[in-house]
Symmetry: C2
Subunit: 76 residues, 2 copies
């Protein structure tokens, strides 16, 4: 089974990578880009029967820095 975890910086946390992308898009002539946030996506290939709770523990312990990042889990 597969799980996908999205990890984004929390609102209010400065995102210099996203800001750099926003600026670069403007330089390339793409108008109307009002904001960009960059995050991570982690695709996990898991043994069958792994629970969402286990994936949550992986996020809390390793995948996300919960001080500044929020995460969302999609099981598939």
């Amino acid at each position: 089974m597969k799980a996908r975890v999205h990890i984004m910086l929390k609102n209010g946390v400065l995102d210099p990578q996203g800001e750099a992308v926003r600026h670069a898009l403007g330089t390339l002539g793409f108008d109307g880009v009002e904001g960009v946030r960059q995050g991570k996506v982690i695709e996990l290939d898991l043994a069958d029967g792994t629970s969402e709770e286990t994936v949550k523990q992986m996020c809390e312990k390793l995948l996300a820095n919960t001080v500044i990042e929020s995460y969302a889990i999609e099981m598939a």
Copy 2:
């Protein structure tokens, strides 16, 4: 309007970051993690009426390295 772009390394391209995560999860005692791929997610806040075609051009020109990365666009 918002658009979300997922950028993943293509299949067959070595993903050392994902491999490091897989190894670290094993060390932490999470069994059954068979594979991990790490990618990027970019959330764009766009002017209303921006087409998916425009976002595709952003991906081709800046956001993704299409030699080794594939991308998927979700408009919302």
